[in-house]
Amino acid sequence: MSFTPPPAAYRVAGKGRLSPAKTVSFTFDGRRYSALEGDTVASALLAHGVHLVGRSFKYHRPRGILSSGPEEPNALLDVARDATRRQPNVRATTQEVFDGLIATSQNRWPSLALDVGAVNDAFARFFPAGFYYKTFMWPRTAWERLYEPVIRRAAGLGTAPTEPDPDRYANRFAHCDLLVIGGGPAGLAAALAGAKAGLDVIVCDENAQFGGSLLAESRAQIDGEPAGRWAETMADQLRAMANVRLLPRTTAFAYHAQNMVSLAERITDHMAAPDTDAPRERLWQVRAERVVLATGAIERQLVFADNDRPGVMLASAAREYLNHYGVAVGRKIGVYTACDSAYAAAFDLAEAGSEIVAIVDARDNPDSALLARANDLGVKVLTAHAVTGTTGRRRVRSMTVEPMHQSVRRKVEIDALLVCGGWTPSAHLFSQSRGKLAYDAANGRFLPDAPAQNCVCVGSCNGTDDLAGAIAEGAAAAGGEAKVDVAEAPSMTGHLIGAAKGAGVGTTSKAFIDYQNDVTAKDIRLAVREGMHSIEHVKRYTTTGMATDQGKMSNLHALAIAAEALDAEIPQVGLTTFRAPYTPVTFGTFVNHARGPLFDPTRRTPMHAWAQRNGAVFEDVGHWKRAWYFPRGAEDMGEAVNRECATTRQVAGIFDASTLGKIEVVGPDAVAFMNLMYTNPWDKLAVGRCRYGIMCREDGYIYDDGVVGRLAQDRFHVTTTTGGAPRVLNMMEDYLQTEFPDWKVWLTSVSEQWAVIAVNGPKAREIIEPLVKGIDMSGEAMPHMSVREGTICGVPTRLMRMSFTGELGFEINVPADYGATVWDAVWARGERMGMTPYGTEAMHVMRAEKGYIIVGQDTDGTVTPHDAGLSWAIGKKKTDFVGIRGLARPDLVASGRRQLVGLKTKDPNIVLEEGAQVVADPNQAVPMTMIGHVTSSYWSQVLGHSIAMALIEGGHERMGETLYVPMANETIAVDVCDPVFYDPDGGRLDG
């Protein structure tokens, strides 16, 4: 199907920098429009006379394009490339058009022109500031079910995409001598001066082209050259220098400590057919020796009745649309200003053929040169006049003009109204850098004052409005000098902040301050009347400045109106804090590569593939993937675990214990160090023997545990819990480096160097023995809790005889690269003899049957070794270890502490819930006095009943007592018992 879009009626031949030869087409609300390459969606729509592009947030009022930049509060569109690449709330004023772009208006139903929600506008007096706080209080339950869903549907802007983002996002760190933010005249001058001085320079600008305010210029000359051309020449010069990196379409959105600035570079959003390998956006984290902020200034609207109709637009925006994009925003244009700069827009449009119906100037005596030029062009200027109203639904049709000091109203027909209330320096990034701002009362603006970092503000963000001055200031900031001759630069003099005529105290008109959140002048006054006296409170009560535009155009107006209502000076009322990001940044840019498998590292043991092949179900333990259980056939988890436990206890089981933390403690003072770090005594541990060690913190609570083997007088092989290895090593290093720096001890993390194959069960020795060389594994030569070095399958091993199941057990440590091979060999022998692989669940059950604790499950950071029934592991004769003094604290030696005990349910088939609370008297009134909780609970197949461990007040004294576990539907009676349920004499450790 071929379709020729209608011609762009408002495109002015011969104006602008875009080439009429390069056309593209896009759709807006289903209609196809033509555009020129380089157009924004806003400029392209305006070229077709489309001003109505959205509905406002709260009142659903028709809204048009107000600006030509990132400050845009109204023209927020849903922009899509295809079915999966769709983004809501895109500013039409910054989104470049590409061929095939699909733009859709938001917050309207059923259509943009006919919107049911607009009824809110008629009932606006029922939606004052603080409306939500006041209205939706009762009943409380209605908030979730009724109010919130309704409000969310009616308010809000675009809808979030539902598909996963198919694009890629990149990330780069950079260092430079000089980071220049903003590529306008001052920024370009700074960059060139820095570059010429040999500095490494990065220059970023949020627009596609460098030039900043000069892109909107028509008349100004710099050194005899048109200003726009001067900017291009400067950019070309910079581009050619090896020590300069130019980043267009790149927004500096956050200024952090020590001159680190985050930039978001948009790489493909303007392309019709981006390279599929190209990232969509790139996050730059730049660390700069010096930052030059050349962020410019943002024009403000004027606050008067109905100042929000489509067709009402900032004067500077209209000028940029004409001079850069070649688009006239109207044919019969009114201008309402309090600042000289709007005249330039009016003159340019008049010369381009639009009729300037009148320039309404709120001031009594504007500059006479401007008045003379208006006279030459036949443009009527009404000084000391105000616009006090507008009409027009989908586009402004008339303005009401009144003399400032009389009430004689005159209605003038227009199709666009340019407004200018002066300029607000963009101090956002400076303020984020913690620089202080100072109020410039003469010009009604806050300016950068004392910097907190090595950064310099130049140009209009620093209040330097004259072009030659801005260029000189820019160059000086980079240690250079630039003297340029400037002719015909526009004057920026004049301002009006706060309510204009007709919107002052006592008026009821809708004079918008914050377009995006639909906040009017009278809302601010209401907030003050209702007791909000700080601007931070006014802001939150009215939501002014809290939309995604962060009040770039509105904050100063809100502040001025609040100050007036409070009868205070503006600086006394205060300024709200500027926070990152300067403009919205996509989640993709922040998340970057950290998605899917790269979101968080996954650690796998050398035997992972074997477990996978053998049907293991895995569980996450920290970053580790651990085999949880190995179901056979149609087994469920319970059946698999029962079988794994039974086979291990009857024959043997093989278990991957590689995730255990392992630290080698070596040196002449190693034993002294072990004595310090662990509660146990280590002097008498013979070489070749192992001991279960407990580590406390200074407060006396259990921090970690594990089996330690002594390989030599000066060498210990220390194991830690799977999750505890890093913090245990950190704590060891801390004591070694800072408290005992003279001790000769070296600590090495070897967790990933050793694969660990645990074989437990009566046949464990028989399975392993033939594979081992150089170690006598007999019970006499290698008793329980021993460690030997030798080889297995020809591979060096540290073979430990120990048990976490209560059966005869060995842990075969082999270099990780041989883990899978040795596992295969052990499995090949064991399988023939009836051995089973078992997972972490069976391991948990078997250790609980033996009453072995798991730190972090049966302890919680408030459990001492005494509480855990491990007093035997504390060296009674020791005069120091970490925790020795903490353990002597009054609370830790008091009676009634929660102590670890076993629980047996009266009904042996009931398995308690872990975490369930325990009470002494089940008939007491609610809330009951809870005396403890269940920490571990399993079904024990070997015992034929459930088992549990619990921390119970005075538990060690309660052996045999009946306690109760009240649950939602029943109360479960339990008997307190010793936590060692299985083989209390330990005979099975010998097979």
Binding site: P448, R885, G886
Partner: protein, 109 residues
């Protein structure tokens, strides 16, 4: 993200490489098991945590692994100096403190 100078590596490295480790210059009593409850409280629980200059420990955990000390301003987050573990608490000059206390000087013009 802060830049922190590791006194062992003798260069500034990004904060990502470091881990904070609490207040500095709290020595573990040599006669640990003999100290009073009050002394233990002072040693283990009580911290200055003041607004202004703080002396704190850091570990270059993803670098050389060494613990060291730093003097930093807790409002401006600026470091005055970092120094090796075991070195005495440095005497700070008024100029050093003023230099990190907050915004300084005049910008631009």
């Amino acid at each position: 993200m802060l830049l922190i100078r590791c006194p062992y590596c003798e260069e500034e490295r990004p904060e990502l490489e470091f881990a904070g480790a609490g207040e500095a210059h709290i020595a573990r009593p040599a006669n640990m098991s003999d100290i009073s409850d009050e002394d233990f409280e002072a040693f283990f629980f009580i911290r200055e945590n003041q607004k202004g200059i703080v002396f704190e420990r850091w570990r270059h955990i993803h670098g050389c692994g060494r613990f060291f000390n730093a003097a930093r301003h807790s409002v401006s987050d600026k470091f005055i100096v970092t120094y090796k573990a075991g070195e005495p608490k440095p005497e700070l000059t008024d100029e050093q403190i003023a230099a990190v206390a907050g915004a300084t000087g005049k910008s631009g013009k």
